[in-house]
């Protein structure tokens, strides 16, 4: 338990200190910091006591709430004005960090209970939305975020398209392999 606490603290400090480096470029911010925060949540969720997990599951049948939360929240932080706001105000940035971390926890707790069907539904739905956002970022002739350059916007958009595509592909391959011949 002590070791886990130390690991968690180290990870948390790393993310907080690297905030400056992570948030300076749009692609790093959205495609590196966000996944790192989610990963942190996923890791923490693995250490939660079983008693907590059982109680949570009473409010998270089929992982429904966790899946909805994770997909909706990541979408919210893709809104250009939300991103700008997080960079301009510390309070909002803190909310962003905490909510994304929580999304990681939610995902970890909800993935198994959701089963392949709901996983596919949410993942593919999220990917379609993200790819649309990615294309909007890439195609837009205007800078959508005041804090980032137009070139950064294009790379972030393209990166998002790739990321969503790869996640869906990875999931499909996983399910393919599970099938009995």
């Amino acid at each position: 338990m002590m070791l886990r606490a130390v690991q968690a603290s180290i990870w948390l400090l790393l993310v907080l200190f690297s905030r400056g480096w992570l948030e300076v470029h749009m692609a790093r911010h959205m495609l590196l910091q966000f996944p790192l925060l989610l990963l942190g949540g996923v890791l923490l969720a693995g250490w939660l006591p079983l008693v907590w997990l059982r109680r949570i599951s009473h409010y998270n049948q089929f992982g429904l709430n966790g899946m909805v939360y994770a997909s909706l929240l990541t979408s919210v932080w893709m809104i250009p004005s939300a991103l700008d706001l997080a960079l301009a105000e510390q309070g909002i940035n803190l909310a962003k960090l905490c909510s994304l971390f929580l999304a990681g926890v939610a995902l970890r707790l909800s993935w198994q209970p959701a089963g392949r069907m709901l996983q596919g539904f949410f993942l593919i739905g999220w990917a379609m939305m993200s790819m649309t956002v990615g294309m909007l970022y890439g195609e837009s002739s205007r800078r959508l975020c005041n804090a980032y350059l137009g070139s950064e916007q294009v790379s972030a958009g393209n990166g998002l398209i790739w990321l969503s595509g790869l996640l869906v592909l990875g999931w499909c391959l996983r399910v393919w392999r599970e099938q009995q011949d």
């Binding site: 919210v76 004005s81 005041n146």
Partner: protein, 220 residues
């Protein structure tokens, strides 16, 4: 994981799940609505312009230097002058695409002269690069752009704190473009003779800006 073995327990868990679902949807959509002014502004620039149009703001008393090195207070100077003011943020080192704003204002100056509106409206270019843009540099820049000093003036904030306050009030975000220059959300800011920022207009619409002002006796 089911809520228990009995169907009753499971359906209770399902109901709890649905309640939490409603709660979190409300919170998340509420947060999203809060950050987008009710889903009307997806970018900061849209939000900035919408908010000023809905609620004009009195320009702050910022201490500036004009291109002759004379100090003045922005809000006071606007009221003393009594004309409508078209304000834009610039930096003189810019020599690529962004110098387009110099071009827009040149066009506007011509328009103002042609239509005889010099007594009713003027132009002000404020530099956000005080380190490089001293009053002398701005003076040269003004000459380079063929600015008529009675119509088109240049200024720079006296202190870094004044600059920060000005940029904050106007919602201007300046970032490094990685090529030695700056990128910022440039636009034309309409300030009333009483010193209130009433509207922010896109650069591309510069030709229509004069028509937006309540000016008298416009000649075509």
């Amino acid at each position: 994981m089911g809520g228990g073995c009995s169907p009753g327990a499971v359906s209770l868990s399902m109901r709890r799940t649905l309640l939490l679902l409603a709660l979190q949807l409300g919170l998340l959509l509420g947060a999203a609505a809060g950050m987008t002014d009710g889903f009307t502004g997806w970018t900061s620039e849209t939000l900035r312009r919408q908010r000023i149009a809905a609620q004009p703001q009195a320009v702050l008393p910022v201490h500036m230097l004009d291109s002759n090195g004379q100090p003045f207070r922005l809000d006071q100077a606007i009221r003393d002058d009594g004309r409508w003011l078209l304000l834009a943020f610039v930096y003189s080192r810019c020599n690529s695409v962004c110098s387009v704003l110099g071009n827009e204002f040149q066009q506007l100056q011509l328009d103002i002269q042609r239509r005889g509106l010099q007594q009713q409206v003027r132009l002000l270019s404020i530099s956000f690069d005080p380190a490089h843009d001293t009053p002398e540099v701005l003076g040269h820049y003004a000459m380079h752009l063929h600015a008529d000093p009675t119509i088109w003036q240049f200024a720079v904030p006296q202190q870094p704190t004044a600059l920060a306050a000005l940029l904050q009030q106007f919602g201007i975000v300046v970032i490094d473009d990685g090529l030695g220059g700056y990128v910022h959300n440039s636009a034309i800011h309409l300030v009333s003779p009483k010193g209130r920022l009433v509207r922010i207009v896109d650069l591309q619409d510069y030709a229509r800006v004069l028509a937006m002002l309540p000016l008298q006796g416009k000649k075509s």
